[in-house]
Amino acid sequence: MAENVTPRVRVPSSAAAGEVITIKTLISHIMESGQRKNSDGNLIPRSIINRFTCDFNGQNVIDVTLEPAISTNPYFEFQAQVPEAGTYTFTWYDDDGSVYTDTKDIAIG
């Protein structure tokens, strides 16, 4: 597992039914591209988050494929319509097989 990986998510705690909200996510990750060499001339192995998904009550909201050129600590900001109260589940998939998740509840009102 890559070191010091911490996901952070910001979702409003409540919204009106049908409202479009802005979701922000950030995960600390080195995002080593696999293209660089160390001082001995050997390739530094690739270590990136390669996929990010967000689901709402089991239904997919966004599914992103990340490529090696994406910089350290990838940040995503996107909008989603809130049909009902429920839970957002955020998932990041690491090259090394680790999976990081975070959840946020949202109420209607």
Partner: protein, 283 residues
């Protein structure tokens, strides 16, 4: 020929004077509720040099400024989280964490960042916050000293700094620190390196002007530790000093040298009155 080119360069600098000053309307407000002082009357000891001091935030473009105005958008907060984890994690042979002695950082560390570097009576020396952290680690925790400049020590420094966010810088310059402060002042105004630049050449005489594509700031340290977008890590003042002296094409002092302690004290005192920004974002 050389002379003509030089003259042209100087003219364009004069035209650009003040061009980089982009005081955002409403100033620096964090998370919509914490207003920080980014412009203050200069301290008395700057009489004849500066009338107003500005945080480096003022000189950055609106995107960089906005990143600092929301803790979620400020990538430095990741390091604050890491620093908080260090605060609570036992280290060294003592098995003690920072929190075991200092308890709740929001109380015990409030105001600390604003007065550093400061005199340590027991040790008989001026200490930067980095030095104090390492002294605490080696003397009280039985842990090894951390390397200055970036990495763990700066994360911890960031967490400590955050407890003073919004408080005005208030570094003492008299009493036992007077000699060290004077040494720092002399360094500030001494030209070094192949480019023969002093700190003042850029940060006092030309702040707001462009140096190649960059807008020069006043070189204030109230925002440190700084998240530098180009490095994507936090940098402490000592780490920045090494980079700045290197940029004058000089042989730099060691990052943990007494020279940089003196300079850090002097430069910090130039920013007295500006808010501690906790963790700032710069280019």
């Amino acid at each position: 020929m050389t002379k003509t080119v030089l003259k042209g360069a100087i003219t364009s600098i004069a035209i650009l004077a003040g061009a980089g000053m982009a005081l955002a309307e409403g100033g620096l407000v964090i998370n919509g509720d914490l207003e920080l002082t980014t412009e203050a009357p200069a301290a008395d000891h700057l009489a004849g040099h500066l009338t107003t001091v500005y945080s480096g935030w003022v000189f950055r473009d609106s995107f960089t400024q906005a990143m600092e105005m929301d803790d979620f958008d400020n990538p430095g907060m990741l390091f604050v989280d890491a620093g908080e984890a260090m605060w609570n994690e036992p280290a060294g042979t003592s098995g003690k964490a920072c929190a075991d002695c200092h308890a709740d950082a929001s109380e015990s560390m409030a105001g600390v960042r604003a007065v550093y570097p400061k005199w340590n009576e027991a040790a008989g020396e001026v200490r930067t916050l980095e030095m104090q952290i390492n002294a605490c680690r080696t003397e009280n925790q039985g842990a090894e000293a951390l390397k200055y400049g970036k990495g763990d020590i700066v994360s911890l420094e960031a967490y400590i700094s955050m407890q003073s966010r919004g408080l005005p810088m208030n570094v003492a310059i008299d009493g036992p620190v007077a000699d060290v402060w004077a040494q720092g002042k002399e360094m500030y105004y001494t030209r070094t390196g192949q480019l023969e630049l002093s700190c003042a050449s850029c940060h006092e005489e030309n702040y707001g002007n462009l140096i190649r594509a960059e807008t020069l700031s006043q070189g204030q340290t109230n925002g440190f530790p700084v998240y530098r977008i180009k490095d994507s890590v936090l940098t402490s003042a000592s780490g920045r000093f090494v980079g700045c002296v290197r940029d004058t094409k000089a042989e730099t002092y060691k990052i943990d040298s007494s020279e940089f302690v003196a300079l850090e004290l002097y430069v910090a005192s130039r920013g007295n009155g500006l808010s501690v920004e906790g963790v700032s974002v710069r280019n």
